[in-house]
């Protein structure tokens, strides 16, 4: 509730005040009593209404029509009372605005977690009553930090204020600075009150390279090698052409959230990505099915149970426990998710208005936690998108009376099923018109909402000591209308690859696909997928040790460990004030196929498999979606070290890590190292050097498949006045690898004519970033980058998202962030990206490749705009 307090201080005697005109309260008539014109009086009123109340009488000079003589004339006749307009929510928002902005800019990576953290920033939790999991779910707060505080409160000590918090033994300075804004001490800064937030986003984006290539892949009959057959060269033989994807088709997002304090919460989100059916062409049922929504109740002061917390959510919610091996539902993969620093998990049940669609949970979830124990239970019922076996007519193939499903999938574009069937019928007619393929029709295809899934799960946890916890998590997903059927490696090859000519493309790494879970095999038929596991954490001194073990029930017993596909992770985090050190060991079996997991790995599942590398060989190129948007980790076995060390105020080793791992599908071994040194001779200037190297190799007598990538980055950052920021960055990359045909062939068709050794590819990148703050409410950010790739892909973190850049090109973007009013935020970003793709294998329309006509380059121009409008109240 907005509260207005007007405090009048007697600067002079009451009689004098009565005789003078108060500029902060006077109306037009009163102002006209001063020796000023009506225009000047109106200008004073306008200034007060639209710019600011007066803090002193000299502020009148900010008004163009008030000149110095006028000011001197009225100075002794007017007074400025102290006017404090206090709205505790606005005041709170002002206090945490930097953190809110930082969370906004990280939203691309965290996908919905920002909402939860923003809520806790606005309405903090009582630091004296928080549980261990509450602390470690906050960004940059570790278990060691949490124990430092909890030990104090367990002894009956009450943390009285921020300074008191800082003095908690064991709490690092870094943990303290990140924690202090998420908690309150005696009185909450904002009393329980109604708050709401509305967001509208319009975003014209381009598909990333993988999705672009996937949709461009043509369906062509087999005998176009013959000169007697005319190549149709029809764009509409690809998904891209058929679905007219050459058009500006914006993503639209509408999000509404409301809550009363931290007790009652509700929200609705509708996200319509590029290429999907427009909202007005959908019926109400479809709109509801494609929306995200929730209503929830939270109580941190349960009666009878001392310091216990209850969360009850209906609608969409997220469930995250342990290290994400059993349950962490999201559509979005992030590499090296350690659970520390900014790579956090919010443990427990949280409302979900993220863009996660496939692995969202929709139903009811309950969580009760006590400092000593906790229990959570959830149930979800939702229709999931899937890759299904389809027949020549596009009908889903039946197996034992149920739909035959291959896999879950997060599609790049959720086409309607009828639209897809029309497209597939057209593609099939082409495939079947020539000499026969091994598979002459689309046998596997995405189907929207094809899989009926009912999922229930539970998590039990005991916390016997402060900082020590043991948990058990399990879920079971029931499929009443379908069987998952995934053949073994050999049969899978024939299922996925269209023509026997391409069977050699199918490699050991594709065992990852064969490792997908089946509910129907020669030995069993069932209608569920069950995962269970244990997690634990303990803090000893300044070391936090945590881990999780999980099993997917396949043909072993649910009550016996080690007889089913498994995954485990163990990590230790040691922290000092200026140093931390993380060691993490992980293992995931090849056939541990848990779509609801989101744990640590270097790569997402299916990386390097045929569905990434050879989409032209697939029976349906859109099978690549199984890889492109996979949130699961790649089955790996490895050890990871990470550290950050601040020597002094001049030198810092930034987040640096070393990872040594083996990819289990094909035994490829890799080492990756990234290290960063920052030298800050003065506060305003930072020089930064970063080195990244990765070596991949197979144990092979011919030493095939060895590649080495190095990346060197140098940047100069200047922190100017008014929080303006200027950075120059240069990056140089090299990739040394065996000859890669499409990069090393001469520019005429045909094979190499000489012996090949290794190939060294180099690329570089130069960029400048600038942030200018006109004032506290208006900020402009911009960047200009030129890059040269030669087969190397560069990346760039923009204001709110990451961008990948291949080949060579230039891009510039500018983003304007305007705080229109105390509650309203406008952000407008425009990006122009111009780049060229390789010239090889590109030829002119309708001319055979051995003709005379080659295009030198194909230029792409992309204009991207993102408008975001948000109202927070």
């Amino acid at each position: 509730m907005k509260k207005l307090l007007v405090l009048l201080f007697a600067l002079l005697c009451l009689g004098q005040i009565a005789a003078k005109v108060d500029l902060n309260t006077a109306d037009l008539e009163e102002l006209l009593q001063l020796p000023i014109t009506e225009k000047q009086a109106r200008d004073i009123l306008d200034y007060r209404t639209y710019i600011s109340v007066f803090s002193d009488i000299y502020e009148l000079r900010e008004i163009p029509s008030i000149d110095q003589p006028t000011l001197l004339r009225i100075k002794d006749l007017a007074v400025v009372s102290l006017y404090v307009e206090e709205d505790e929510v606005a005041a709170r928002r002002e206090e945490i605005r930097d953190l809110l902005e930082r969370l906004d800019s990280n939203e691309g990576a965290s996908e919905g977690m920002s909402d939860v953290w923003q809520d806790y920033l606005m309405t903090p939790q009582n630091v004296n009553k928080m549980h261990f999991d509450d602390f470690i779910s906050l960004p940059n707060v570790s278990g060691v930090d949490a124990v430092g505080i909890l030990k104090r409160t367990a002894q009956g000590d009450t943390i009285a204020d921020m300074r008191d918090l800082r003095n908690s033994p064991g709490l690092s300075y870094y943990g303290y600075t990140n924690l202090r804004s998420y908690v309150f001490y005696r009185e909450p800064p904002v009393k329980n009150r109604f708050m709401w937030d509305a967001q509208l986003e319009y975003y014209t984006r381009y598909l990333e390279e993988g999705a672009h290539d996937m949709y461009h892949e043509s369906f062509l009959r087999s005998d176009y090698g013959s000169s007697s057959v005319t190549v149709p060269n029809r764009k509409d033989l690809s998904y891209w052409g058929w679905f007219n994807m050459d058009e500006v088709n914006p993503d639209l997002l509408v999000k509404l959230r409301a809550r009363y304090g931290n007790n009652y919460k509700a929200g609705w989100m509708y996200y319509s990505p590029k290429g999907e059916t427009p909202l007005r062409e959908k019926g109400p049922a479809e709109i509801i099915a494609d929306s995200k929504f929730f209503a929830g109740y939270e109580n941190t002061e349960l009666p009878l149970l001392n310091n216990s917390r209850l969360k009850l959510y209906l609608g969409h919610y997220r469930a995250t426990f342990g290290e994400g091996l059993v349950m962490e539902n999201t559509d979005f993969y992030s590499a090296r998710k350690t659970g520390y620093g900014f790579s956090k998990r919010i443990l427990g049940i949280t409302p979900d208005l993220s863009r996660t669609q496939e692995y969202s949970l929709r139903g009811a979830a309950l969580e009760i936690t006590h400092p000593w124990l906790g229990v959570a239970a959830w149930v979800s019922q939702d229709n999931k998108d899937a890759v299904a076996y389809v027949d020549r007519d596009g009908e889903i193939v039946q197996e034992n009376g149920k739909d035959k499903i291959f896999s879950y999938v997060v599609p790049t574009t959720r086409f309607g099923n009828e639209d897809l069937r029309e497209a597939e019928a057209w593609f099939n007619s082409e495939l079947q018109s020539g000499s026969p393929y091994a598979t002459d029709y689309i046998n596997l295809a995405y189907r929207k909402d094809a899989l009926r899934e009912t999922l229930w799960g539970t998590h039990l946890q005991v916390n016997p000591l402060i900082g020590t916890k043991l948990g058990f998590t399990t879920y079971t997903a029931l499929y009443d209308n379908a069987y998952f059927v995934v053949p073994d490696w050999n049969d899978l090859k024939m299922l996925l690859v269209r023509d026997s000519y391409y069977y050699p493309k199918f490699k050991m790494i594709d065992a990852e696909i064969a490792g997908l879970y089946s509910t129907l095999t020669d030995s069993y038929a069932r209608n569920y997928r069950r995962v269970l596991g244990f997690d634990g954490q303990t803090v000893i001194g300044n070391v936090s040790i945590q881990g999780e073990y999980a099993e997917l029930s396949v043909d072993g017993s649910d009550f016996k460990l080690g007889d089913d596909p498994k995954a485990y992770l163990l990590s230790a985090y040691t922290q000092f004030d200026n140093l931390y050190f993380l060691t993490l060991f992980r293992h995931m079996d090849l056939d541990f196929d848990n779509p609801y997991s989101n744990s640590f790995s270097e790569h997402e599942r299916f990386n390097d498999t045929i569905i990434e590398k050879n989409i032209y060989a697939l029976t349906n190129p859109t099978l690549a979606d199984i890889y492109l948007n996979a949130p699961q980790s790649q089955p790996e076995h490895g050890i990871y070290f990470e550290t950050r060390y601040k020597f002094d105020r001049f030198f810092t080793i930034g987040r640096s890590y070393l990872d040594i791992w083996e990819r289990l599908a094909d035994a490829r071994r890799s080492v990756r190292l990234q290290t960063e040194l920052e030298f800050r001779p003065i506060y305003q200037l930072a020089l930064r050097a970063r080195f990244k190297t990765q070596t991949n190799r197979y144990d092979d007598y011919a030493d095939r498949g060895v590649s080495k990538t190095d990346e060197y980055t140098f940047s100069v950052r200047t922190f100017l006045s008014n929080r303006d920021f200027l950075e120059f960055e240069y990056r140089y990359n090299t990739v040394l690898s065996p000859p890669y045909t499409s990069l090393t062939n001469p520019a005429v068709p045909g094979n190499n004519t000489m012996a090949g050794a290794m190939t060294l590819m180099t690329g570089d990148y130069i960029g400048v970033n600038y942030t200018h703050n006109f004032n506290a409410n208006l900020k402009v950010q911009g960047s200009l980058i030129y890059w040269f790739g030669h087969g190397i892909s560069h990346w760039d973190w923009e204001d709110m998202e990451i961008d990948f850049m291949g080949d060579k090109g230039m891009k510039a973007w500018v983003a304007l962030h305007s705080r229109i009013s105390r509650n309203m935020y406008l952000s407008l970003k425009f990006r122009n990206k111009t780049y060229q793709t390789q010239e090889l294998s590109i030829r002119q329309y309708n001319v055979p490749v051995d003709g005379e006509n080659l295009y030198q380059r194909v230029e792409h121009k992309e204009n991207t705009i993102r408008l975001s409008l948000e109202y927070r109240y």
């Binding site: 710019i51 319009y202 461009h216 043509s218 176009y224 914006p250 105390r822 309203m824 407008l828 204009n863």
Partner: protein
């Protein structure tokens, strides 16, 4: 007897000849102008609630009495740079469609102007005003040129011969001259309701020509009088009127609402066209003319806008507007569309405004197939805008605006390849104009459309005075 292929080509050309405007895509519906006021343009084309500039009466007649002014005058000039790039699908050596490459790029500049004036009188708590304005409503201007080259010797850095040049040139506008009346009622200190009416006369004409001219090299190669040049010309007249009602409510010091309802207008469209083609192998020269008239519909437009003037350390105006265009009134081929726009003005320093805006507008690519079927494809055009103002005197402002918009869509090849098959004209079994016999000169249909990428950079300047 005209060859069937040629008939189809001519029919296509006839259809496509209409495809010429600023953007040659907007031949039929024209390229829609917003309010040519530079402040409005800089704020994303918003202005349904505008109590600052006289040209506000163009966006909403109720703005006339919303302005607390006795009289006002504004003139605006507008320059637009249109870039139109058309790309042909590319296939790789495996015959897979992989991308598109630009084969024709056209950059053209266009300009226009508008003017508005009003006067108003306060009578007690009521306010009455009348005004008038002139502005171009739709532009049909457009120029397009593409070269047909045979790609000979491109591998060896040679310059391929030019076979023919195709052009489309159109000039024309639909203008609007309107009389505006408005009444305002002051119902509180900072609360007033304004009602306005805009009656506009619509008039205009267009002239366009589409030509195919063989190059001198082509003529020299196959001989004089063998290759037929082609010319299509068209002239249209448009006339009608449009009625628009407006509402402007100042709710309090911080909020205002503006809304307009423009009734559907049915204009008379009189079209005269002629087709001329030189004689060629066994075919007489063609010179035919025809004319017809039809209804030309400007659909109903319903707009609603919010104006927000919060307290900010910079004086700030924020506009957010939604417009519904009832395209379905034209025919069942079209769907009603929602456009929206947002704009903000911050006074970074006194009298130095920074204006920014965004809009998203829907339009239709209308193609009449040879069999008479109408294909309507919706195109979204996002626009970003910016601008500022030069303070000349208290009541005299020079506003400047800039806008950048682009759109990407698929469209049919404007000139089918089969016309350049010299075998048709020479009677030979081999090409003379083309370097090899692999080339198959067929017309690309929707199975292989062009990828069109257009961009517009617009500059506007307006001078306004009010007192």
């Amino acid at each position: 007897m005209i060859n069937k292929h040629i008939l189809i080509i001519l029919a296509m050309l006839f259809v496509l000849a209409g495809l010429s405007a600023w953007s040659i895509t907007d031949s039929y519906f024209g390229n829609r102008y917003g309010v040519l006021d530079a402040r409005s343009q800089a704020m994303g084309g918003t202005g349904l609630f505008d109590d600052m500039r006289p040209a506000g009466i163009i966006a909403n007649p109720a703005n006339l009495t919303l302005m607390d002014k006795g009289a006002g005058l504004e003139g605006a000039v507008f320059v637009n740079r249109n870039e139109d790039n058309r790309a042909v699908p590319l296939y790789n050596s495996f015959d897979n469609y992989i991308d598109d490459a630009i084969y024709a790029s056209n950059i053209n500049f266009y300009d226009d102007y508008s003017g508005a004036a009003f006067t108003a009188l306060q009578l007690g708590w009521a306010r009455f005003g009348v005004g008038a304005y002139y502005k171009p409503r739709l532009s049909f201007d457009g120029n397009y040129q593409e070269q047909i080259r045979n790609n000979r010797n491109t591998d060896n850095d040679g310059y391929p011969e030019m076979v023919a040049v195709n052009t489309i040139a159109t000039e024309g506008r639909l203008d609007q001259a309107s009389a505006v009346a408005s009444m305002g009622f002051r119902l509180g200190d900072v609360f007033d309701v304004n009602l306005g009416l805009d009656y506009g006369l619509l008039f205009g004409d267009t002239a366009s020509s589409t030509t195919i001219r063989w190059s001198q090299w082509a003529i020299d190669t196959v001989g004089e009088g063998v290759l037929p040049d082609y010319t299509y010309t068209e002239h249209t007249d448009l006339a009608g009127h449009r009625l628009k009602g407006g509402l402007g409510i100042r709710i309090n010091e911080n909020f205002g609402l503006g809304s307009t309802y423009a009734l559907k207008s049915v204009l008379d469209r009189q079209l005269d066209y002629s087709i001329q083609q030189d004689a060629w192998l066994g075919h007489a020269a063609m010179d035919s003319t025809a004319s017809f008239s039809e209804d030309y519909i400007l659909p109903t437009q319903i707009s609603l806008g919010l104006n927000y003037q919060p307290r900010n350390i910079m004086r700030t105006w924020f506009n957010f507007e939604v417009e519904m265009v009832r395209f379905s009134e034209i025919s069942t081929h079209y769907q009603d569309c929602l456009n929206f726009a947002a704009g903000v003005e911050h006074h970074i320093q006194n009298r130095l405004p920074l204006r920014l805006g965004f809009s998203s507008e829907n339009s239709y690519l209308r193609v009449v197939e040879p069999d008479g079927a109408v294909i309507a494809k919706k195109i979204i055009t996002p626009t970003i805008t910016g601008g500022s103002s030069v303070f000349l005197a208290d009541n005299l402002h020079l506003d400047l605006g800039i806008g950048y918009s682009w759109r990407e869509y698929e469209a049919l090849d404007l000139f089918g390849d089969s016309y350049y098959n010299d075998k048709l004209y020479t009677g030979s079994s081999t090409y003379q104009l083309w370097p090899n016999q692999y080339i198959v000169l067929t017309d690309r249909g929707w199975e292989n459309p062009d990828k069109v990428r257009e961009s517009n950079v617009s500059l506007s300047a307006s001078l306004s005075v009010s007192w």
